[in-house]
Symmetry: C2
Subunit: 156 residues, 2 copies
């Protein structure tokens, strides 16, 4: 039976459509979709500010998922493009469930709250750089940082 995901505690909600995306993506690499992978994915998909690996390990202990598995799954999810890394308030690596397509992030330096930024056109600059440097520019990583509304000190 492939469908025992329902047994999983559902305090980690996510649209089930994505599960099929996951399965397809893993399959394509000859990998298998397991309940553990789904649970790991759900944890991240549900997080608004991303998690560090140790944080994820601690959170997933509750579901009896070993840390070796967490490390492996997070790596896979990264390689498959389901997770991106961003930097938290202290510069620490955090993994964030990413939507598909070209997306960047606006990160609060105080509380770590993350907001997506879809407005970005650096393609012109990329072409210019390629011409100037001889690099074959393949992409970019862009993070904005500042203070989210809740953390912004009141003006005046």
């Amino acid at each position: 039976m492939t469908q025992d995901y329902d047994k999983r505690p559902d305090d980690l909600r996510i649209d089930n459509l994505k599960i099929d995306d996951l399965r397809r993506a893993f399959r394509r690499q000859g990998l298998r979709l397991t309940p553990q992978k789904v649970t790991v994915w759900r944890l991240f998909a549900d997080s608004t500010k991303g998690l560090t690996l140790p944080e994820a390990c601690r959170a997933l202990q509750e579901y009896a998922i070993g840390q070796a598995t967490v490390y492996r799954v997070v790596n896979s999810l990264c390689e498959l493009g389901f997770l991106l890394h961003i930097h938290g308030p202290n510069g620490e690596h955090r993994y964030l469930a990413g939507h598909s397509g070209h997306v960047h992030h606006l990160i609060c330096r105080t509380c770590g709250h993350v907001r997506e930024v879809t407005d970005c056109d650096l393609s012109t600059l990329e072409k210019l750089l390629a011409a100037q440097t001889g690099f074959a520019v393949e992409g970019h990583h862009l993070e904005f940082y500042g203070q989210c509304p809740r953390c912004t000190p009141l003006p005046g």
Copy 2:
């Protein structure tokens, strides 16, 4: 005598002017400039692709600098803005001696070679984001990645 830096092996060259900048910056925080700090700085100032902390520790063993010191100094240099972090080919954190001012980087995904990018105007976008999201946008971090000329597979 404050000037026993010359005793240091000079296979790590750097313009001496910067040393005074360092001293001033440290002083401003009530910190002292020591030969160890200078040596650490020189190592980074001389690196073209940046170093990870462990790499720096290994390299500085030769100069009998303890790892505790390396960690401390790198942190200070970061806070003072002399070092920036970038991501190497495998996503690992690397510390790179940064020039002052607004600078980004173009990083080879194969060999890690880094090239500076000074051409960037995201201020317009920053203002737009601030208006749209309510964030007080303070800055951004931008990395381009691709293949440097030497690593680019020949076309055709």
